[in-house]
Symmetry: C2
Subunit: 192 residues, 2 copies
């Protein structure tokens, strides 16, 4: 049991799902990309489903801690939002299709979501947003909408990049620049 190889396989699976966005990849695809024998996948993970489960759980976990980390910082509101954007954008650039993978797994067959409560950090951040609205630096609305706007403007253009690259007829590198500009655009769009 070589932990490094187990990791290699798992990371390769993540690359295929989250980076390339190939949500239909087979175990053979994964083994080939990892440069190992397909038997090894069964050796380490017993079955395809268990590998998927691990990848899924770690994706959820990473998104969760990403959020908590960003919201936990002891910073003024605007800096906190900037930090949030940085953290989020970095992960989206590394793994553009992570969220798409999550959704596709959730919608696949008899998948059941665990019914988690809102995290304490999230609730307190929603309060912070509300307070900021009273101060007048951002528009007044249900703080959930504020947060969803933020997530949307961050994630969507990256997830849908193949579509928008084509719609706007931009080269790959030109679209990369476009994404680079997002942080300022978003800040500009949410702060009054």
């Amino acid at each position: 049991m070589e932990k490094a190889t187990e990791e290699l396989i798992k990371e390769t699976a993540k690359d295929i799902f989250f980076k390339q966005g190939n949500l239909h990849a087979t175990t053979q695809d994964i083994a080939d990309a990892a440069g190992v024998n397909r038997s090894l996948l069964n050796y380490y993970f017993r079955s395809r489903d268990l590998l998927f489960e691990q990848v899924y759980n770690e994706a959820v976990q990473s998104k969760r801690s990403q959020l908590d980390e960003a919201l936990d910082a002891d910073l003024p509101f605007r800096e906190k939002v900037e930090r949030f954007i940085d953290v989020y954008l970095r992960d989206m650039r590394k793994y553009p299709f992570k969220e798409a993978f999550l959704i596709s797994e959730i919608n696949h067959k008899d998948f059941v979501l665990k019914n988690k409560k809102k995290s304490a950090k999230l609730i307190s951040f929603l309060d912070e947003i509300a307070a900021e609205m009273k101060k007048g630096t951002i528009r007044t609305m249900d703080p959930m909408h504020f947060l969803v706007n933020l997530f949307s403007m961050l994630s969507y253009p990256i997830i849908m990049s193949p579509l928008y690259q084509q719609l706007f007829n931009l080269s790959h590198t030109r679209y990369e620049n476009f994404i680079d500009e997002r942080k300022d655009i978003i800040l500009q769009s949410i702060f009054i």
Copy 2:
């Protein structure tokens, strides 16, 4: 060759992919949902791939004409944007995962996008956006960013609804209401 049945099958496939978001559905799943024999799929579409191709092409086509229709109207800017939101939201509510399907197909294997030019209507709408910025009713930025912001705030919360329902711990109907509120929120967010 009963056109109605062919349509039934195709529409059922769209329901499964675009409504339920089950991007891994098999031909058997589709046949069952349509209440027909699996042989009929081959009878009408020859193969699974050809069915997928039709569904894909019609999805692209519908998105395209949806956009053109909204942008083609001879209306003042704000009304045009409102109309755009209406058209778009209606389709997203009917087929929340249409875009997710498109992305998953595009990323799947050796898919190649046809290199289309920007549509004339799109270009003229980008000009309209720029003009509106000069008038000062919306913030100044690259019009593409304006448009992407709009798309993002419209689409993302719907595509990702399973995730955000859970994050905010909202019931299905409560999330429906949340989406209902999006139009005003978006207008509020993009107009100064």
